[in-house]
């Protein structure tokens, strides 16, 4: 419906196409430029995935360390919060100066954006595990490692995945911001070039690509979430009834 109205407005010429191109034109330009965009998309996806995977490991490790060693948490936690109050867009030029125009500064930006929600969510999950479950294992004389492996980590999987989903939606954006500030290729660079040449249809095309990529990443994580937590599917089911 919205798209139909948009199409009609653009077609009647009441808004010039360099401001709001019709959806059909956007789709057309998307397909005709796809071979050109392909390279840029691959670069952005590469930066995002590398950054995201590093963030996952970094986020998990930092969360576990903070949970296991309270004095480390006292030191790191305020630093983490402070680091998140610095707008990433102001840091991006710094990274370009320090690390050049290659993939590294983009990957670092993705990491900075992604690891925080992963780490904080997991930390919260680890902290809210049922104390009685932990006591049960303690009463058996279980080691710290066993308590993490058997109870704490599986119990905080739902929190970890909600962190991962937040991170996933930001990750492509992070890479794009990095490319915007300075780079040779990537969707951000493509957008910038399209903007300079007033190729609004291409800018919209890039937005669509970014959205689609973000959704794909989100869906992938939801898929892994379902596969790694098969018990959740049973939680709302009825029990088998009293079978004594």
């Amino acid at each position: 419906m919205l798209i139909a109205i948009w199409e009609i407005i653009s077609r009647t010429g009441s808004v010039p196409s360099y401001i709001l191109p019709a959806p059909s034109i956007i789709i057309y330009s998307l397909f005709s430029n796809f071979s050109l965009m392909g390279r840029h998309i691959l670069v952005t996806v590469y930066e995002t995935l590398v950054g995201f995977i590093i963030s996952v490991f970094l986020g998990i490790i930092i969360a576990i360390i903070m949970d296991g060693l309270p004095f480390v948490k006292k030191v790191i936690y305020p630093l983490l919060i402070t680091s998140q109050t610095i707008p990433i867009i102001t840091l991006a030029p710094l990274f370009i100066i320090w690390f050049g125009y290659g993939y590294l500064p983009k990957i670092i930006i993705v990491i900075l954006i992604c690891f925080f929600p992963i780490s904080i969510n997991l930390l919260q999950g680890l902290g809210s595990v049922d104390i009685e479950l932990i006591n049960l294992l303690k009463s058996m004389g279980a080691s710290k490692y066993q308590i993490y492996k058997i109870v704490k980590l599986p119990a905080s999987l739902p929190s970890l995945f909600s962190g991962l989903k937040i991170a996933a939606t930001y990750s492509i954006m992070g890479a794009t911001i990095g490319e915007w500030v300075g780079g040779k290729d990537g969707i951000g660079v493509f957008m910038l070039r399209a903007k300079y040449s007033f190729a609004t249809d291409k800018v919209f095309g890039a937005i669509i690509i970014i959205t689609v990529l973000s959704i794909c990443l989100l869906k992938l994580i939801e898929f892994i979430e379902r596969k790694s937590m098969p018990w959740v599917a049973y939680e709302k089911n009825d029990t088998l009834g009293e079978q004594i």
């Binding site: 049922d130 058997i150 939680e235 079978q243």
Partner: protein, 248 residues
């Protein structure tokens, strides 16, 4: 016969709240001993102390002749809640205690699997806890407890959350099961019927801060069955206990 557990003059308070004033309990080998008392009288705290999770302010816990204050892993402890891990199948839940003791998961599954029939759980090995009924969950939790240590078991109101009918059949089932085992059991309940039906001895606790108010040796002959509940001897003891509870 040497006592499996000897609880000597335990005192415990949390801040200004006196939970246990002075309690001594002993559990003989292969006996079933119940601790009966009003809610919140420190029964569970006593179990936390015996299992080593909490340290008493005063007193000793002697397990098999050794002082075990603050030492975990000596006895198996079943909490009031089933505490089954929702992300593990029933079989893997039962295996936890074996894994903590250092068995590999494959060996643990083999060993745990052989008990499923005895615990009325065969066929449900690959089910998740949320798919099972309350009675089955409690039996799975009991199996996990048993697999950790079949020697001394602390059972904290294992049937507390079940409905009356399920509860009765679980009591009968437990008695049948124990005929095959050589376990010594310390059992918490606040059901007078349950305590008399299952036990060789009952310690009656007072309100908080708890002391042992009375001790009853139950000499109703075994095997006991559902008729035990209505026998004259049973009701005689029940009347005595209820009278004592009334005094408070």
């Amino acid at each position: 016969m040497p006592n499996k557990i000897e609880v000597l003059n335990i005192k415990k308070s949390f801040g200004s709240l006196g939970t246990i004033e002075n309690v001594s309990v002993s559990l003989e080998k292969n006996k079933f001993v119940s601790i009966l008392g009003p809610s919140g009288c420190g029964k569970s705290t006593l179990f936390d102390i015996i299992s080593g999770l909490e340290k008493p302010d005063r007193g000793d816990i002697i397990i098999d002749g050794i002082n075990c204050i603050g030492k975990t892993g000596k006895v198996s402890y079943m909490h009031q809640k089933d505490l089954l891990l929702p992300w593990k199948t029933i079989l893997d839940n039962a295996c936890i205690s074996l894994q903590v003791k250092g068995l590999r998961i494959r060996q643990a599954r083999d060993k745990a699997g052989t008990y499923f029939n005895l615990f009325g759980l065969s066929g449900f090995e690959s089910y998740y806890p949320n798919q099972l009924s309350g009675g089955m969950k409690q039996r799975a939790a009991l199996l996990r407890t048993y697999l950790f240590s079949d020697d001394i078991m602390l059972l904290d109101e294992p049937f507390g959350g079940l409905d009356a009918i399920t509860r009765r059949s679980m009591q009968l089932w437990l008695l049948g099961l124990l005929k095959n085992f050589k376990s010594s059991i310390l059992f918490i309940t606040h059901s007078v019927d349950e305590a008399i039906f299952l036990s060789d001895r009952i310690y009656l606790f007072s309100k908080r801060p708890a002391i042992v108010k009375a001790t009853f040796d139950i000499n109703i002959q075994r095997p006991r069955d559902y008729k035990t509940f209505t026998s004259a001897h049973f009701n005689e003891i029940k009347e005595k206990i209820i009278n004592l509870l009334q005094v408070e």
